[in-house]
């Protein structure tokens, strides 16, 4: 396992490196006057030019990339041009909030999706499967904002049992006001439960049709033993990989959900940074996302190898 991890690390580093170049280039496309952004709309042009020079935004592209990545590696992500704060702590706190939301979402998604998917897979073509499949399809096809708006309508406007805004006071942790986490987490979960349940269903059907399951049946094993001892672990391989690969989708959902509920996460930060063309925040946030995606990819590989020993040697 350790060896596999080590083997994977160069790929991991390469993905991050390529991402960093892409992110840098993408944010360089933004027509932004960094100095003007930082000094505000009423600052005189000379001051803006001087600051631009001081920040090195007038240097050639390659040199700027070198500076940026060098600093980023040493932990200095620069200062937000719109918030006048060091980007590192800013991003981290928001990312923490988003992580709480993501974990809350996942803690709903996983049990529901896997159980529903398993049931559907085991009853393929019969009534429970048809019901679960249809619901899953509808859930995964409904955009987060539609789900969010409908939930708001029901729970915040009509019944008024849950807060319609998840804005947090100060640096308060979202966990301190769990009620504010409910609607965002449920919205997140509803969209993804469908997706992962469908994966699990397909995977389960595939595994149940595999020769070793038939072999197990022919050895006289009970249905329970076949499902729980033999099928589940193998059926989990695809959904687990998908869940991991799915993290960037999850992040996308989080951006929208944070916008609906005014939840102070990284998505909101990135949305406002994009609006304000706050390049350092955009770059750092994007880099963090890329890092998260690459790490989850790595984890997916390792988890897959753990679930599927065959891959441990072959996948290397």
């Amino acid at each position: 396992m350790l060896r596999l991890t080590l083997l994977r690390l160069p790929f991991f580093a390469l993905t991050i490196a390529v991402s960093s170049v892409l992110i840098f280039l993408a944010s360089e496309v933004l027509p932004v006057n960094v100095g003007r952004n930082m000094l505000g709309m009423f600052a005189p042009q000379q001051a803006v030019d001087a600051l631009n020079h001081q920040l090195g935004t007038d240097l050639p592209l390659v040199e700027r990339y070198g500076r940026w990545i060098g600093k980023a590696v040493s932990g200095d992500l620069g200062n937000s041009t719109s918030q006048h704060l060091p980007v590192g702590p800013l991003i981290l706190r928001r990312a923490g909030n988003s992580a709480v939301l993501a974990l809350a979402g996942l803690s709903l998604i996983l049990p529901f999706a896997l159980v529903l998917g398993t049931i559907a897979g085991l009853t393929a073509g019969r009534a429970p499967d048809r019901v679960i499949s249809l619901i899953s399809l509808i859930l995964t096809s409904t955009p987060e904002f539609v789900v969010g708006v409908l939930l708001l309508l029901v729970f915040a406007v009509h019944w008024r049992i849950l807060p319609g805004s998840s804005a947090l006071i100060g640096a308060a942790s979202p966990l301190s006001v769990p009620s504010k986490l409910v609607l965002p987490a449920v919205t997140l979960a509803l969209v993804d439960i469908g997706y992962i349940a469908r994966m699990m269903r397909t995977s389960m059907i595939e595994v149940m049709a595999s020769p070793y399951i038939r072999a197990a049946r022919l050895r006289g094993y009970s249905a329970t033993r076949i499902v729980f001892v033999h099928a589940l672990r193998n059926a989990l391989v695809t959904p687990v990989t998908v869940i991991m690969m799915h993290v960037n989708w999850l992040i996308g959902g989080i951006v929208v959900i944070e916008a609906i509920y005014a939840y102070p996460g990284l998505g909101q930060l990135m949305l406002s940074a994009a609006a304000a063309k706050d390049v350092p925040v955009l770059e750092a946030g994007a880099l963090l996302f890329a890092l998260v995606a690459a790490i989850t990819q790595l984890l997916a590989d390792l988890l897959q190898a753990w679930l599927q020993p065959r891959l441990r040697s072959a996948a290397a």
Binding site: L7, P211, V229
Partner: protein
């Protein structure tokens, strides 16, 4: 008097599919007697596997079953789910096809073995381990404790097969059903598995139903044989009777179209069975084999003949069995192109060719794998040269390298005495016309999304230089030469049979009248009757055009049938080469000898002793010093084999053997006998190193 363990009466199984009812079994009646080994033989689609699963009551939800299948007076097909669970594994156990797939990839071997024992006899702990270890030893798995700690994928195909057999035996079943247990194994491993079955039967007294398309394996292992065709039993009897005196035309034809290692090339010509299996979705009218039968008469079309006893140990479903009895099994004689050494014209020559792969080894870091290690050889015009060897011998790599599809690292390739680049892209245009290839996998040799004739058409234009209506004519001509109706060109490849696809591939290869055609295991996935057909057309085209063939195969029978020259490869090196007759008559390299000995002989009367090769194929990624065969050689001399590469010694006219043992001391044990020895075709093996090679 032996008692019937299994008693099947008029068993029909139909499967409900999208395209209608598929008739898998059309009324089968048979008994399996306690203690016997029953062989169930037939080509793909004959219903033998369905029969096997019926014995375990596992036919799937879409199966429509009629008839009874009694196991000790209890009807398996009427059992409740609980009864089935109680029966399976304990009374009837199954060893499914491709043992690798029958093992849960995510659980260690030991856990899976212990589970069987726990489920069947609630045995746990040290007691269980002891039972398992003793059984593993019984199936000749060395070091059981260590094996139990490993994952299924870490075992070789042969080990997996032994393991699955052991798992089946753990429940102490009365009946063991083995579905194609030797398919996919190399000939040496196949021989060992068959030995094991004989041992188990002797030591444990277990009743065995052996399902196989491999006539040789059946002949070697079985007491009694049933031959199936189109969901029916067409002939049944003792092995000796069936193989010596087949009374059904299908059995007879099958035996005739199997290439034989024990008969000189001049004495055999591939005899295909014309036509196809009857449509499995249609009801039968008359004898199922009538439309392909050389003996068919009008009466045959009346009804399907019943399986009737014709002697004490023999039954056949043919109204003309008596007429057939009059004709001996006698294949048509073949003819060989004799080329004397003086007028040999070289079409291709390779010198010191190296082909290497960069691989990540299973243990430790990556390495370089020499698939081909300094191989030199030359081909003469108009000759058929066969390269044989087990999987992992590098024979396919050699073919690809010559074709320019795989980079060669060192050495030289000459086509028509001209040095050519290793890369196809950088070879001159004439080489494409000069050299063509037919590929192994018939499922992918044609583009599934294009009309079947399309690629012949293109080849005719590009290589044959034809334009306009000439293209049409030439394509049609080529198709007729491989026995296909020109309209076949319009069909989708998926609508064609494997044999038809391979015949189109052959037609395509010959479109530009090449000097040299490389055939890479082109029949390995085909049934024997189809194989005979393909080889017959290949041979006729080759002879008509005077084309040279480089024929890659693991099937010594086919080699015997068509090769003028033989090259035996082991681990990327040539260990023996020479004219076919010389190689088949010896003396031989110890490896060649082992291969020849392993070929299962179909005649129960003619079983030879063979010495199993020691150990598995070594890890090809390891650096080799000395003789590559030293680890498994039954005649190993000593340190000289470990330290010094063996010399290539001449053993006669163009016959050479690479061994430290002087030619005179090498065995000349193989003499063609006039008996009926049959070698059938296992698929290209995936033993041990398949994970490393050819990914």
């Amino acid at each position: 008097m032996t008692s019937a363990l299994v008693d099947i009466r008029a068993l029909s199984v139909d499967y409900a599919t999208h395209d209608g009812l598929l008739h898998a079994l059309r009324g089968v009646t048979l008994e399996i007697v306690t203690g016997e080994v029953l062989g169930i033989v037939g080509e793909s689609g004959c219903g033998k596997t369905t029969l096997g699963y019926a014995l375990l009551g596992d036919l799937g939800p879409n199966a429509r079953v009629k008839g009874v299948a009694r196991l000790n007076e209890r009807d398996i097909l009427a059992m409740t789910r609980a009864e089935l669970i109680a029966m399976r594994g304990r009374r009837v156990a199954m060893v499914p096809q491709s043992p690798g797939d029958a093992l849960n990839p995510a659980r260690k071997i030991g856990d899976q073995l212990r589970e069987v024992l726990f489920v069947h006899s609630r045995l746990k702990g040290a007691q269980a381990t002891a039972r398992i270890c003793s059984l593993l030893e019984k199936v000749h798995i060395p070091n059981p404790q260590a094996i139990m700690q490993r994952w299924p994928h870490e075992l070789s195909g042969g080990q997996q097969q032994r393991l699955v057999i052991a798992m089946a035996l753990l429940g102490e079943p009365e009946l063991l059903v083995l579905d194609e247990p030797t398919t996919g194994l190399d000939v040496t491993v196949e021989a060992a598995v068959l030995d094991l079955l004989a041992e188990l039967r002797r030591d444990l007294g277990v009743t065995i139903a052996l399902i196989s398309h491999n006539l040789g394996a059946i002949a070697r292992a079985c007491d009694r044989v049933i031959v199936m065709y189109a969901g029916l039993i067409v002939e049944a009897g003792t092995a000796a009777e069936i193989f010596a005196r087949p009374r059904h035309p299908y059995t007879k034809a099958l035996l005739e179209c199997v290439p034989r290692i024990d008969r000189a090339r001049s004495a055999q010509q591939p005899v295909p069975i014309p036509g196809n299996l009857p449509n499995p979705f249609a009801a039968l009218s008359g004898c199922s084999f009538a439309n392909r039968c050389a003996y068919a008469v009008f009466d045959c079309l009346a009804e399907q003949p019943a399986l009737l006893p014709i002697s004490e140990h023999h039954a056949a479903a043919c109204i003309r069995w008596a007429d057939i009895a009059a004709e001996p099994v006698a294949p048509k004689p073949g003819e060989a192109v004799q080329i004397s050494s003086t007028d040999r014209r070289e079409v291709m020559r390779i010198e010191e060719l190296d082909v290497t792969y960069h691989v990540r080894g299973t243990k430790g870091g990556g390495g370089i794998l020499k698939a081909i290690d300094a191989v030199s050889l030359d081909l003469a015009q108009g000759q058929v040269t066969a390269i044989v060897g087990e999987s992992g011998s590098g024979k396919s790599s050699l073919a690809s390298a010559i074709a320019g599809l795989r980079p060669a690292d060192a050495g030289a390739i000459y086509l028509d005495r001209k040095l050519v680049h290793w890369s196809l892209r950088r070879r001159a245009g004439w080489t494409r016309k000069f050299l063509q290839m037919v590929f192994q996998d018939h499922t992918s040799t044609l583009n599934p999304e294009l009309g079947a004739g399309r690629s012949i058409d293109r080849a005719v234009r590009l290589l044959g230089g034809a334009r306009g209506s000439a293209v049409r004519a030439r394509t049609a001509e080529l198709m007729q030469k491989v026995g296909l109706d020109p309209t076949t060109a319009f069909r989708k490849p998926s609508e064609l049979s494997g044999g038809q696809r391979q015949r189109i591939a052959i037609a395509r290869a010959f479109a530009g009248r090449p000097e040299l055609v490389i055939c890479d295991e082109i029949t390995s996935a085909l049934d024997v009757s189809i194989q005979a057909q393909v080889i017959a057309f290949l041979q006729s085209l080759q002879r008509a055009n005077g084309t040279s063939l480089l024929f890659i195969t693991h099937d010594l029978g086919v080699v015997r049938q068509i090769a003028d020259e033989i090259i035996v490869m082991y681990l990327g090196t040539v260990c023996e080469r020479g004219p076919a007759d010389a190689v088949f008559s010896g003396p031989n390299h110890p490896y060649t000898q082992a291969l020849l000995e392993s070929v299962a002989s179909p005649d129960p009367a003619l079983q030879r002793k063979h010495r199993p090769l020691a150990g598995p194929l070594p890890d090809p990624a390891e650096r080799r010093i000395g003789c590559p065969f030293k680890t498994r050689c039954p005649k190993r001399l000593g340190t000289v084999c470990d330290t010094t590469g063996p010399p290539l010694r001449s053993a006669g006219d163009r016959h050479a053997i690479r061994c430290h043992i002087p030619v005179e001391e090498l065995d000349r044990h193989w003499t063609p006998v006039a008996g009926t020895h049959i070698s059938a075709a296992p698929k290209n093996g995936v033993d041990n190193i398949s994970g490393v090679i050819g990914q």
